[in-house]
């Protein structure tokens, strides 16, 4: 009973007294504010957080079905994908997945050992390595497709055709924004202690 008292006023402190400051916003673009507040945007961020965790869990499951770890599977399908538009090197994959080259080197090595990726020297730059997925890997992934299809249908059941179109349109900009934001973060980290305006 009286669990109603658990109701939390999002503007009040622990004693219930409302602080004078008008809650600093976590985003400022007007398109992303609603009635001057960032509540909707925050909900968006937390929703994204919850969704991406489940997306990753699903990917890990698919990976496990073909005997790979999540990252291995991700790297494998990324090579297959990137291969469609040109030569793929370790650094290409690392940039695409936004992780260190060392990690890609390591995991690609394991994929090679499994016979799923082939590694030959690039013809144009002998420092580089040309990665491609083997026929064995294609068969493995083709075998996974039915399950993948069920998983994707379930995962994206609420998405309609227009949503997909719009997101496809949006993604390049969002990725660019991600690169810009991480660059910005690098700058903020480098200059952080300099200013101290409370």
């Amino acid at each position: 009973m009286q669990e109603g008292s658990a109701l939390t006023d999002r503007r009040s402190g622990p004693g219930g007294q409302v602080q004078g400051e008008p809650r600093r916003l976590t985003v400022s673009r007007k398109d992303l504010l609603r009635e001057g507040g960032d509540g909707a945007f925050r909900a968006f961020v937390h929703g994204l957080l919850a969704f991406t965790a489940r997306l990753e869990a699903t990917r890990n499951g698919l990976a496990g079905l073909v005997g790979l770890s999540g990252p291995q599977y991700t790297i494998l399908i990324s090579i297959a994908h990137l291969e469609e538009e040109g030569d793929v090197s370790v650094s290409t994959v690392a940039a695409h997945l936004h992780c260190s080259g060392a990690f890609v080197t390591l995991e690609v090595g394991r994929l090679v050992k499994k016979g799923l990726v082939s590694k030959r020297p690039s013809t144009t730059d002998r420092r580089r390595v040309r990665l491609s997925v083997t026929e064995k890997a294609r068969r493995l992934l083709a075998g996974l497709a039915p399950t993948q299809s069920r998983a994707n249908d379930t995962l994206f059941a609420s998405l309609d055709a227009r949503d997909l179109d719009r997101i496809l349109e949006l993604l390049p900009g969002l990725i660019a924004g991600g690169d810009a934001a991480t660059a910005l973060m690098g700058y903020e980290i480098a200059t952080r202690d300099r200013k101290e305006d409370a």
Copy 2:
């Protein structure tokens, strides 16, 4: 020169011979196919992969600015968020972030040690713990808000008002889809060796 030969036909094997099988689809809902193919959907998946990696990197950067690890920061803001709609326990957070309770216990312990989270026994269920963020944490996050705002403006520069509305509408369904898909994966994993139709 003659790098043009690197052009990869996405339907051909290494020798250039086209396999007879018509590329198994990774999704089957008609809304998500284009001209009967899953190419657009695949592009969507890979774009999402690239974007979420950058999103996480940005979050890690924000976390670092306040002396937290990425997961610590994520857990902290999740508690703050979940607190707005009711009591928050370890398992609430674990379910929201789709990770193990053990991990939440561990990280929350560190946040408590830093004075950012308070932990008291739930009044209604003495097995449970009631988590809440401290005033110190609120100040810390408020101090981060300006940077966060710059980062979010950059990250989501390409998103317009209608996009945000639509995604907000979509997210609950997507999260539910994620839960359903991971459940499905559990089933697939449990029954995988049973059938073997090559």
